[in-house]
């Protein structure tokens, strides 16, 4: 059954899109990630214009983050103060990101920048996650019940010398507001350009850079992603006219069901095994996009809309 997407201006198979939403939703439920980094490239592979894929995916991430944050909220695993400061940075970042996107689109370089961002960030995050999870798999094999060496709660570096310090009770931190502000800003720019929530960058940065306890990291990240992607949805809709609600709703419908199934499945798998799997998927997407950038394309020419907007 075909359905015509009013903004993308093309017709797609309903079941294909529902299945795609379901598949990516399943992954996001299984691994506890947003799935934007999988969905946006997949939509582009399907022939959805990259700009529409990015704009629409932002709307879908709003939905999946709202759905995800509620469980964390009930358990009190959201550091609201931290979340709001990250959001402030993220707002500025998504403004900048959408403007940058618009500018790059006019220059004809937006596809390249999207692909480069994906290759670089997925490569770094996937690579780090892969090494780290393999190490912990090996360790848990070897050590048995010997116990893991306990880390210091904080390591004091130059970062702690920055001004405008704020106390974050929930995260047991006393750090400069500049840190979460600039982290939010950076992730906001990337989220707007890449059509992702940015959780895969935000979560490791919160743990390793800010030193937040892992229990509040996912909830707080989801909390701020809601607002930042809501802002980029609004900006993509008003500046680029690239949010397709029909496509978003179809993806949502599949995604919601897939996420629930995935979440149930994840209980049966070990954390380290899950992380190795996720790292492999992330690296796979990264390698695929990287190969596309360096292999000689079969078609050297592309069409860009001339003065349509």
């Amino acid at each position: 059954m075909q359905i015509y997407l009013p903004i993308a201006e093309m017709s797609v198979n309903v079941f294909l899109i529902l299945g795609l939403g379901g598949g990516v939703g399943f992954m996001s439920g299984l691994f506890g990630v947003g799935g934007g980094f999988l969905m946006t490239p997949l939509l582009i592979f399907l022939g959805i214009p990259p700009a529409v894929a990015v704009g629409t995916e932002a709307a879908q991430i709003v939905a999946s983050s709202v759905s995800g944050v509620l469980a964390h909220w009930r358990r009190g695993n959201v550091d609201i103060k931290m979340g709001l400061i990250l959001t402030m940075g993220g707002f500025v970042g998504s403004f900048g990101g959408v403007e940058l996107f618009k500018w790059l689109r006019g220059m004809g370089q937006v596809d390249l920048v999207i692909a480069l961002c994906y290759v670089v960030f997925l490569g770094i995050v996937g690579g780090m996650m892969f090494i780290e999870s393999i190490q912990s798999l090996v360790q848990s094999h070897r050590a048995g019940e010997a116990g893991v060496a306990r880390k210091k709660l904080h390591q004091h570096t130059w970062i702690h010398g920055l001004p405008f310090k704020i106390r974050f009770r929930r995260s047991k931190l006393y750090i400069s507001a500049i840190l979460p502000l600039s982290l939010g800003l950076l992730v906001g720019v990337l989220a707007a350009i890449m059509g992702v929530g940015g959780g895969f960058i935000m979560v490791p940065a919160m743990i390793y850079l800010l030193g937040m306890p892992t229990s509040v990291v996912v909830g707080t990240s989801l909390f701020q992603i809601i607002f930042v992607t809501a802002n980029s949805t609004f900006l993509h809709a008003t500046r680029n006219f690239t949010v397709d609600v029909v496509l978003a709703l179809l993806l949502l419908l599949g995604g919601v069901i897939g996420a629930q199934v995935g979440a149930k499945m994840s209980v049966r798998l070990k954390g380290e095994q899950l992380r190795v799997l996720l790292a492999l998927i992330v690296l796979l997407v990264c390698v695929k996009l990287g190969i596309d950038l360096i292999t000689t394309p079969t078609e050297m020419f592309t069409l860009g809309a001339g003065g349509k907007h």
Binding site: M1, Y4, S67, G68, L116, I294, E299, F301, L303
Partner: protein, 244 residues
């Protein structure tokens, strides 16, 4: 008043006789193609009759638009858009059907004048790219449009029935651009166009899809807010529905 009646009578008279001698009549099975939510492409039947000898050529043109064609080149190991060309006006849709191969029907000058056939389209390409010339860009534009199904791959065959009646199906794919199309029917005899008829065909989005498109463009802020609220509400609903 008498004079007016006389003029009308004269007009009707001349029109009447003209119609009787018209060497070419043609029409479409429909004059409006509605792009609805279930739209997956459509066929429009063009049919007509000729009086006397000659070959029939049908040209379907979508509204002209400016285009940018970009060319990739390898820079530091990766493929980057380096050159580009502005195409002032290219038909957004173009398809030719004919009873005989175009080259056998009319000389190049005639085909050029009426822009019949992909080789005879006047695209006015402006490029400042040193790596590729206008012809390369022109070929690329046509190739890319063909790949999208918007330009015909080859001249389509028109069938004659009993030497007078002709018919051909015009296919419009699902990604067809909206606007007012012109369907031109030419009757060519001995290399000259002796009669021509132009029929408009409107391709338009109809229904919810069209309303959404208009809303998204005219009330972008409201559309954006509604999209966010819809997304947030469905996320909330999903969490509530699956909560044990």
């Amino acid at each position: 008043m008498k004079r007016l009646i006389l003029i009308i009578a004269l007009l009707v008279g001349t029109l009447g006789t003209a119609r009787a001698n018209e060497p070419l009549v043609a029409d479409l099975s429909k004059h409006l193609v509605a792009i609805t939510t279930g739209f997956a492409g459509t066929d429009v039947l063009l049919f007509g009759a000729v009086d006397g000898e000659g070959e029939v050529v049908v040209v379907v043109r979508g509204p002209a638009k400016a285009e940018i064609v970009r060319r990739k080149d390898r820079k530091a190991g990766i493929w980057i858009n380096t050159g580009s060309a502005q195409v002032e006006s290219a038909p957004s849709f173009y398809r030719v059907a004919s009873t005989k191969p175009l080259a056998e029907i009319a000389p190049v000058a005639v085909l050029d004048r009426h822009q019949i056939g992909l080789d005879h389209l006047d695209l006015s390409i402006d490029t400042k790219d040193s790596g590729a010339d206008g012809t390369a860009y022109r070929d690329a534009l046509i190739r890319l449009k063909q790949k999208k199904g918007l330009y015909g791959e080859a001249v389509q065959q028109i069938g004659f029935m009993s030497h007078r009646l002709f018919r051909t199906e015009i296919h419009f794919p699902a990604n067809v651009p909206v606007g007012t199309y012109l369907v031109e029917v030419y009757l060519i005899q001995g290399g000259d166009v002796i009669s021509a008829q132009t029929t408009p065909l409107v391709i338009s989005k109809i229904g919810i899809g069209a309303d959404l498109f208009d809303f998204a463009h005219q009330q972008a802020a409201a559309y954006g807010l509604i999209a966010i609220m819809l997304a947030a509400a469905s996320g909330w609903l999903a969490a509530a529905a699956f909560k044990k």
